[in-house]
């Protein structure tokens, strides 16, 4: 890490707890340095690591506008159509006059219809139709098919850690220089076929775009956004320690800045007690009796749904720096996260049975990049008879534990620590591959140890 973080107090880590730490100033310094390198630097690339909720989208929008304002049209590469549409909408919201191109596929319904209401957003499946616009945005997959156009001088590559090296290879000829932004702690890209034969090569096509970029261009400036504006002061240390042990970050808010209250007192049930614990401490672990269960463990699924139902019934309200008074935590501010799609489907059905609608219920993959007030997580290892690499993957747990602004309730069967002990980490090691931290087994243990301080058992 270079200048930004070296000069920022954030590098000394959250443990220092210096009274002088001003998150706003630290983040502003980081952003200034990033924009300086992007607009005026001599390097062809700039890399920015952004932990959960550190203002990545804000940075991308700002960098795009400043480049455009400097008379330097640019292309933006995102990974999914939803990300592209979201960026287009954010850009248009910030700067309705800015001419933006949305390059899309030939599939039916290739973009969000909401974009049709934006007067300065032009949509086309042909890059040539969008030539000359200040900003042209599309997915990496679509960009890869663009040929025969004049290269852009600038590009912004969003979610670059979730982009595969071979996808970057296919689009890198379209731009001269680029700003790469992403979160190294989230789920890695993967391949459905073996790619071991290239492990350790700097350009391993199955590795992340950033690891290839840095292996070939180690001199590029690397920055880090040092402050999470999403995660509350209660959550940042746990997430930072467990998932970013060598690149710590802090919360942008202090312990008194966020609050969660209920209009209806606890009825003494497990869900109510765990909600009270989570409201008070930011974390709650609702522990069900140990049992080996199917993936869609009916009791755990029902417990998840009940926690959500009680959250709404008890009139949860959130206090934060965003508004002067408490804001009701409505269904759209709550998310349920699971490891598997069938679990998400089972939770949706259980919620429907309890008459709850409007809550986002999805897998870690689909919750990546999203933000809520309260999340309820079905622990990936709950009730499992085995701990596979999929369930131990660091990024999965990191995504699930870092979507909330106020509180996170984890629902889990007892016995996960013992399960982990039965499945010691014996990962193969490939020579020359940069180690990605931390180890999934260790991160799971670490999170579990912290969560167990907030344990509420199902039976009183």
């Amino acid at each position: 890490m270079t200048d930004t973080t070296a000069s920022s107090p954030a590098t000394s880590g959250p443990a220092t707890g210096r009274a002088a730490f001003d998150p706003g100033a630290a983040a502003a310094r980081a952003t200034d340095a990033i924009l300086r390198d992007t607009l005026h630097g001599t390097h062809r690339g700039v890399v920015v690591d952004s932990p959960p909720g550190a203002g990545k989208s804000t940075l991308v929008v700002r960098a795009a506008r400043e480049l455009a304002a400097a008379g330097r049209p640019l292309m933006v590469v995102a990974q999914t159509n939803a990300q592209v549409d979201d960026l287009v909408a954010r850009l248009a919201e910030k700067d309705p006059e800015l001419p933006v191109g949305r390059l899309h596929s030939n599939d039916p319904d290739p973009y969000d219809k909401a974009l049709d209401a934006l007067p300065n957003v032009r949509k086309s499946a042909k890059a040539a139709d969008l030539a000359g616009l200040d900003v042209v945005i599309s997915t990496a997959a679509k960009w890869a098919h663009v040929q025969g156009v004049e290269p852009w001088r600038h590009a912004i590559v969003d979610e670059a850690y979730q982009m595969r090296s071979d996808a970057l290879l296919a689009v890198a000829g379209l731009f001269e220089r680029a700003l790469f932004v992403g979160d190294p702690g989230q789920l890695d890209p993967f391949s459905v076929v073996g790619a071991d034969q290239w492990a350790g090569l700097s350009y391993d096509p199955s590795a992340s775009a950033v690891s290839t970029l840095l292996a070939h261009n180690p001199e590029l400036p690397q920055h880090r956004l040092p402050v999470s504006w999403r995660l509350p002061a209660s959550a940042a240390p746990l997430v930072s320690d467990a998932f970013y042990p060598y690149t710590p970050f802090r919360s942008g808010t202090g312990h008194g800045d966020r609050g969660l209250t209920f209009g209806v007192p606890s009825d003494g049930s497990g869900p109510d007690r765990v909600l009270d614990e989570a409201a008070a401490s930011g974390w709650g672990l609702l522990e069900l009796p140990a049992r080996r269960t199917p993936r869609t463990d009916p009791e755990a699924v029902r417990a998840v749904a009940l926690v959500v139902r009680r959250m709404l019934d008890r009139g949860g309200a959130a206090t934060s720096e965003r508004s002067p008074g408490p804001v009701p935590v409505t269904a759209d501010r709550i998310a349920v996260g699971t490891a598997h799609r069938d679990q998400a489907a089972a939770v949706r059905a259980a919620l429907a049975e309890l008459g709850v609608s409007g809550v986002a219920v999805d897998t870690a993959n689909r919750l990546q990049g999203r933000e809520f007030d309260v999340t309820v997580v079905l622990h990936p290892l709950s009730g499992r008879p085995d701990a596979t690499a999929f369930h131990l993957e660091t990024g999965r747990l990191c995504v699930l534990a870092s979507r909330h602004r106020h509180a996170c309730v984890v629902v889990c069967r007892a016995g996960v620590a013992e399960l982990l002990d039965e499945h010691p980490s014996t990962e193969p090691v490939r020579l020359g591959v940069t180690v990605k931290f931390p180890d999934g087994w260790e991160a799971n243990h670490s999170v579990l140890a912290r969560l167990s301080e907030h344990r509420v058992s199902w039976q009183p």
Partner: protein
């Protein structure tokens, strides 16, 4: 035999070749020390305690002297589950800046810069334990620091020339630290055994030994077969119990609370189990779909099922013609 010869070759001439590899991989631009500059202390002493003390002394002396030193087969101690364990790395190199580096010399080849990932993983876990043990010594040595990157030396391509690679063992270190902290103490394990249980080969009969082994619970999985001499014994027991783990840990994933072959099949074929249990309903659906597909194929004359019954004409004919030669 090849492994020992290779290790001797790597360490020959006061470690000249080893130092060259180490400098090339870890020191950047600075040249390797000349052969006369490297101390190779004598580490022989009586008993493991003597050898660990001798190793600690040599490490301290070299660090204080701000010299290069090569410790050939040092002996280190580490407390594991409440009891001391002795560990013998292939080599530890002390550098003038006080940094200690673990060197692992393996006989599997490094071909075009890559090696068997499972073997490298095992070597990394092994080296991490050495680093932990060295950290205990470094605590009492001023100016010493243990490197969290180790040097792995293997034969290059198809030759016995050495090739080296740096392995970052920070992951393995954090995992091993937690594992050591979570290990059940040996006394506690022993306390859980029936009174008088012994595994002492010298003092009990075959039957007593078998009974002693039987009295201990085993968590068998097929992976044990490549790692443990008792695995066939445990497999036999697990099979007799009908444990689904005998088919691989992975099969348990979708079987929920059902742990035996009989229970799963009874649930799948409608003989037992609560249909409201998602495991049971999934099994029944899987069994029905499977039966339907096999029936459809059987009707069209596919011999797959015949092969299994042994009644399919084509396969049983082949079977009888060849069964004699499959195995002697």
């Amino acid at each position: 035999m090849r492994g020992n010869a290779f290790e001797a070759k790597v360490k020959a001439d006061g470690g000249t070749e080893l130092m060259r590899l180490l400098s090339e991989r870890l020191s950047g631009q600075s040249p390797p020390p000349a052969s006369g500059e490297v101390l190779v202390p004598d580490l022989s002493a009586a008993g493991p305690e003597g050898r660990t003390a001798r190793t600690a002394l040599a490490l301290r002396e070299a660090t204080e002297a701000r010299a290069w030193a090569l410790l050939d087969h040092p002996l280190l101690a580490l407390e594991v589950a409440g009891s001391p364990a002795y560990l013998e790395p292939d080599a530890v190199v002390v550098r003038p800046d006080g940094r200690w580096t673990v060197v692992e010399i393996k006989s599997f080849p490094m071909i075009d810069g890559s090696a068997d990932a499972a073997k490298v993983g095992a070597a990394a876990r092994q080296a991490a334990v050495y680093v932990l043990a060295l950290e205990r010594v470094a605590l009492h040595t001023a100016g010493a620091e243990v490197a969290d990157r180790v040097l792995l030396v293997c034969p290059k391509d198809f030759s016995n020339l050495p090739a080296a690679s740096v392995v970052d063992v920070r992951k393995q270190l954090s995992v091993t630290r937690r594992q050591l902290a979570r290990l059940t103490r040996i006394e506690d394990i022993a306390a859980g055994l029936p009174e008088g249980t012994t595994f002492d080969l010298g003092h009990c009969s075959g039957e007593e030994l078998t009974a002693a082994v039987e009295s201990v619970a085993a968590a068998y999985a097929p992976e044990c077969l490549s790692a443990c001499e008792l695995a066939f014994h445990c497999r036999h027991r697990a099979r007799a119990e009908g444990a689904v783990e005998t088919l691989g840990r992975g099969v348990r994933g979708e079987l929920g609370g059902l742990t035996t072959v009989g229970a799963v099949l009874a649930a799948a074929h409608g003989g037992a189990g609560d249909p409201a249990d998602p495991t049971v309903s999934a099994l029944r659906r899987a069994a029905a779909l499977r039966a339907e597909a096999l029936a459809a194929a059987g009707a069209s004359g596919a011999p797959a099922d015949g092969a299994v019954d042994g009644s399919g004409p084509a396969v049983s004919a082949i079977g009888s013609a060849n069964e004699a030669v499959t195995c002697r």
